[in-house]
């Protein structure tokens, strides 16, 4: 159970044991047991759908807080493009960055800069002959984890390009080290995150040995302070800002937007991501070069840890982008260095699938279990109501066969059983001793010859 780290957690005292989260979980990782929602660690992909759907706000994401900055001598904040979308389009990025720095950081950097490098690396990779197409984006950690859990056969399609935040963190760490003269372990690099999956990606990275990030701080948790700090600013820092190409990654289609005329598909929303992977696994989508997969509808601006409504954020960032594009010139853009692109491309990395579906180590036993699941399922009502604490009737059938649930957990089955029992009681109550029955001579008397034969057979 401790094999996987997860940022998505349950606040026990808030959970009332409803099944909203279990029914919305894309990997069926949640079961309600003992009145509380339990997460199966091996299946959880930290997409945060449960955080979104919990009416009692009992699902939460464990991230770091501003207090954690004290443990480091020099702290850098990384601002995601989705952070800009949380503010009015007229608030300049410089002001947002300065406001963020005022919260206790020594320096701030833009993840959008990392996104520019990732786009360049992606372009370079897509131009290579002989790569497995379509390339699946690996920028969204929840989508990558979904692939590992549900579609491990697609691992070889995953893009070998680091996520923008990882690239930005690496650069920020180097620069901080140079500026402050401090060793790397005294420097804290923090990502202001719109999603819980990024936290997991820091502590349990996929494809890299160790993340350059120190931790993540939930966007929504500092939003109030950030608003206050920005409105109190008199002047903003001067810095070279990232381009619209980098900032565009905040919304769905932003990553693919920088790939020129490559044939592209964009899937956002975890179920759409799952569907597109399913199609690819069936051998479809042969004439596609790149698939952008984003777990949250709308892209990162739809993240469960964002402060502003997704559509409000989308409108704000689109208008900001429009203005940025109209003001941008070739000279105003910071060039992307070849060395950075090289660092961002990690071909030949090994990524392990997560075998969660296997029913038993012994294939014959597994076959028996499949048969048993099927038999059990036939007895269940097929309503997928979730009252049993499992998300669907099929999931309950699996849980029953795996010994973690019982058939009486189904309220409909239980009612049937009670009815059968009541029927049996009625039947029994009608059985009267012969002394009270009205029928006479119910049983034929046993012939003496048969009696003898029976005795002989018994020996």
């Amino acid at each position: 159970m401790d094999k996987y780290y997860h940022s998505v957690r349950l606040l026990n005292e808030r959970c009332i044991g409803c099944v909203s989260c279990a029914r919305h979980c894309p990997t069926e990782a949640i079961r309600v047991r003992g009145g509380k929602a339990r997460i199966t660690e091996s299946r959880c992909i930290d997409c945060g759908e449960c955080i979104r759907y919990c009416p009692n706000h009992a699902k939460t994401a464990v991230t770091d807080s501003l207090d954690d900055l004290q443990n480091y001598r020099y702290n850098v904040a990384l601002a995601a493009p989705s952070l800009y979308a949380q503010f009015d389009k007229n608030i300049p990025v410089e002001k947002i960055l300065t406001g963020l720095r005022t919260l206790g950081f020594d320096q701030v950097a833009e993840v959008a800069r990392g996104a520019e490098i990732a786009t360049a690396a992606l372009r370079e990779y897509l131009a290579k002959p002989g790569i497995k197409r379509p390339v699946i984006s690996s920028a969204c950690p929840a989508s990558v984890r979904l692939l590992l859990v549900k579609y491990p056969e697609l691992i070889e399609y995953l893009s070998p390009v680091d996520a923008p935040v990882e690239i930005a963190a690496r650069i920020a760490r180097e620069e901080a080290s140079r500026e402050s003269g401090l060793p790397s372990d005294s420097i804290g690099v923090w990502f202001i995150t719109p999603c819980p999956a990024k936290m997991t990606a820091v502590l349990e990275p996929i494809g890299v040995a160790k993340s350059a990030l120190t931790g993540t701080i939930s966007m929504i948790s500092i939003y109030g302070e950030l608003l206050k700090s920005i409105s109190g600013l008199e002047s903003a820092m001067e810095t070279t800002l990232a381009s619209a190409e980098g900032v565009g990654w905040a919304i769905a289609g932003g990553e693919a937007g920088g790939l020129g005329d490559a044939k592209i598909l964009v899937a956002h929303g975890i179920r759409n991501v799952s569907n597109i992977m399913e199609q690819l696994a069936l051998g479809k989508l042969n004439d596609v070069d790149f698939i952008e997969c984003l777990s949250c509808a709308g892209g990162c601006i739809g993240g469960p840890l964002t402060a502003v409504n997704r559509f409000v954020a989308e409108n704000s960032i689109k208008q900001r982008l429009k203005r940025m594009r109209s003001e941008e010139t070739v000279e105003s853009r910071q060039p992307v260095e070849a060395a950075q692109v090289g660092l961002a491309l990690r071909e030949g990395r090994s990524i392990e699938p997560r075998p969660v579906l296997k029913l038993d180590d012994d294939i014959v036993v597994a076959m028996q279990k499949i048969e048993l699941i099927d038999d059990t399922l036939k007895r269940l009502p097929g309503l997928d109501c979730g009252s049993c604490g499992s998300p669907t009737c099929r999931a309950l059938a699996e849980d029953i066969v795996q010994g973690t649930a019982s058939e009486t957990d189904c309220v409909f089955r239980l009612r049937e059983m009670v009815r059968d029992l009541a029927q049996e009681m009625v039947n029994l109550s009608e059985k009267l001793p012969p002394s009270l029955t009205t029928e006479i001579g119910m049983k034929d008397p046993i012939e003496p010859s048969r009696l003898r034969k029976n005795r002989m057979e018994r020996g």
Binding site: Y151, P152, E153, I155, E278, A281, L282, G283, P353, P355, L357, K358, L359, D360, D361, I363, V364, A366, M367, Q368, K369, I370, E371, D374, L377, K378, L380, P381, G382
Partner: protein, 158 residues
């Protein structure tokens, strides 16, 4: 309860041929029932993955099942697919009462398609079905004659 697949039961292999146990999954395939396309293959894939068959092999099996399923839906007037899952291999057998294939050799070529235009417009019938099946399976057999339907047998080893 509505289920696209009707029967899953333990399947005993006759001692004459093989030894051991397996599962039999049987799927009815209906002409032009596009809404059910993909159900049989995803069921087959789920079963083999639950048995612990590795992801790549499971994908090959599901591609075989999917293409067969789609072929029967597009061309045949109905048919059935029997999938026998053994501890070391999966066998897929598809029988249909369709019009049959006049020239099997030509049909095996990539891009060869007899799908009507209305089907092609839907994005199906690109002439990749049979070649895809052959490529994904370790063994592939096809028997067909005009008016006599089509029979396909595929085998995938783990």
């Amino acid at each position: 309860m509505q289920m696209a697949w009707r029967l899953v039961r333990r399947w005993q292999v006759r001692v004459l041929k093989n030894e051991g146990t397996g599962l039999l999954l049987e799927f009815p395939l209906e002409h032009y029932r596009f809404e059910t396309a993909g159900e049989a293959s995803s069921k087959v894939k789920q079963v083999v993955r639950q048995l612990g068959v590795d992801a790549q092999t499971a994908r090959r099996i599901s591609v075989c099942a999917y293409e067969a399923e789609l072929n029967a839906i597009i061309h045949a007037f109905g048919g059935r697919m029997k999938v026998r899952v053994f501890p070391d291999r999966t066998e897929l057998e598809v029988t249909d009462e369709g019009p049959g294939i006049p020239d099997v050799e030509a049909a095996m070529r990539e891009g060869f398609s007899t799908a009507p235009d209305n089907i092609r417009e839907l994005g199906f019938g690109a002439g990749m079905g049979l070649p895809n099946m052959k490529r994904s399976a370790d063994e592939f057999e096809i028997k067909s004659a005009p008016g006599a339907g089509t029979w396909i047998r595929m085998l995938v080893r783990y």
